[in-house]
């Protein structure tokens, strides 16, 4: 506490989900005394509804900077997982055996091949390996494929991890390194000055020269307070989870993955349903079930024990927003819908930039100013 009653820190991170926790953990590792402010038990919580893919394939078409960022994160992941394991004893279940995207017709195969080829061209010198795998070969990779599957695309970069273990490990490692975690700390006001931010939580305040907004959809409201903008909308995703089953699926796919515990996760749906996380729709859940059974008929026999409806945090073009305030230097915003995939980048690449005081020049295409340009055009 300082004389004025503020708790002084080197950095304040607003948001205790996967994005906020990865950045806060990264900042703390950079030696910055960091406070992470989180909401209560029932918040929007995109982090709890994550499918858990560390996914490179098909990300960033027409946006090489995003493809590079995703790829870099996948490369940073093994070290992140190893560090968390060493620091907390919590295994986050990272496996990166490559991933499959299934196709159900020859036409789909051709379209997918074209898309992957385009991504490879856009990758330039960074490289982008992929293969289109015909069904005969596919049958040796995954068991019991349905008759309608004709093939799949595969990249070696893809993988998966447990979003829940990751969140817990990040929180634990952050606190073990003397980071201050504050749940039930809903921000009520932000007082901004260049490299001097005071955040109020009710009658209490915390103060630091760096402020990171990582509160998912909440950023839309907070960003203007520090001279930034975050034009975000929620996109509801639903996921079905089966009971624990003996390991059967050796690699993740875009519609089904098996967790370390043995549950099969079935996804994914896209809906635009506003902020209502309570509502689940039987029709969408049924569509997910049918897709899973079409892909792997043996899944029909497994029991669904849980289902989630969670909100993806979507920008107008679906790509992440990383931005820093011109009016109030020291304020950074981070938004994405891939909190697991990008955890490696957030902890190992983004946090050091924030600690150093400025985002690297190659991050500029992620600025929210790109949407102003679109509006003007």
């Amino acid at each position: 506490m300082t004389a004025s009653g503020h708790a002084m820190h080197d950095a304040i991170v607003i948001g205790g989900g996967l994005v906020g926790a990865a950045i806060a953990y990264g900042l703390q590792r950079q030696g910055l005394s960091t406070v992470m402010l989180d909401e209560g038990d029932v918040a929007h919580r995109a982090s709890r509804g994550n499918f858990g893919l560390v996914w490179v394939q098909s990300k960033g078409l027409g946006a090489p900077h995003y493809q590079h960022w995703t790829h870099a994160s996948a490369r940073a992941w093994p070290e992140l997982a190893a560090n968390l394991q060493a620091e907390t004893g919590i295994g986050v279940g990272l496996h990166q055996p490559g991933g499959l995207h299934f196709c159900f017709s020859d036409e789909e195969m051709a379209q997918r091949d074209a898309l992957m080829g385009q991504l490879r061209r856009e990758a330039g010198n960074a490289g982008y390996a992929y293969r289109m795998i015909p069904v005969a070969e596919l049958r040796d990779m995954v068991p019991g494929l349905g008759p309608q599957v004709v093939g799949a695309s595969w990249t070696p970069y893809d993988g998966h991890a447990s979003p829940l273990h990751l969140l817990r490990a990040l929180h634990a490692a952050f606190q073990d390194q003397a980071g201050l975690y504050r749940p039930n700390a809903r921000v009520t006001a932000i007082q901004a000055a260049p490299r001097d931010f005071t955040v109020a939580i009710g009658s209490e305040t915390v103060r630091a020269p760096r402020l990171v907004l990582a509160s998912g959809l909440g950023n839309a409201e907070l960003a203007p307070l520090v001279g930034l903008s975050a034009p975000l909308r929620p996109e509801r995703g639903q996921i079905l989870v089966t009971e624990r089953t003996r390991q059967v699926l050796a690699l993740p796919t875009h519609v089904v993955r098996q967790t370390e515990e043995g549950s099969l996760l079935l996804g994914d749906s896209k809906e635009d349903m506003g902020f209502d996380t309570l509502t689940q729709t039987p029709a969408i859940m049924r569509a997910i079930a049918r897709k899973a059974v079409q892909t792997f008929p043996w899944i029909a026999e497994l029991n669904i024990v849980r289902a989630w409806a969670a909100l993806r945090v979507m920008s107008p073009d679906g790509k992440p927003i990383y931005d820093e305030s011109e009016r109030y230097p020291g304020a950074t915003i981070a938004n994405c819908h891939s909190g697991v995939t990008l955890a490696g980048a957030h902890a190992s690449l983004l946090a050091p930039m924030i600690a150093a005081g400025a985002l690297a020049p190659e991050m500029s295409p992620f600025s929210a100013r790109r949407f102003d340009v679109q509006k003007a055009a």
């Binding site: 624990r244 026999e301 497994l302």
Partner: protein, 106 residues
Amino acid sequence: MFRRRPEARPAPGDRLVEVFVAGRPVRVPEGASAAAAVLLSGAPAIRTTPVGGAPRLPYCMIGICFDCLAEIDGVANRQSCLVPVAPGMRIEPQTGARAARIEDAA
């Protein structure tokens, strides 16, 4: 450790059904659940848990606790307390997590 009371059942109109618990025949009143058959069979456990491998038997008998999960007529992880017995029903204990039944098309 449960036993049937022949003096009470079969009451008039009651019939006994023969089912198999871990391969052993057990006679239970019609309308009783597969879980009741397991308890009457004296089997030491209906399953071992997927997490720690601990033995379990039915606990609540009203479909709440899911400790009575068993393989019934080849289908794994059924709530045996909610499944009424049928003649010839086969109730098998489970070990750890269930397996998926995969028949490769190729």
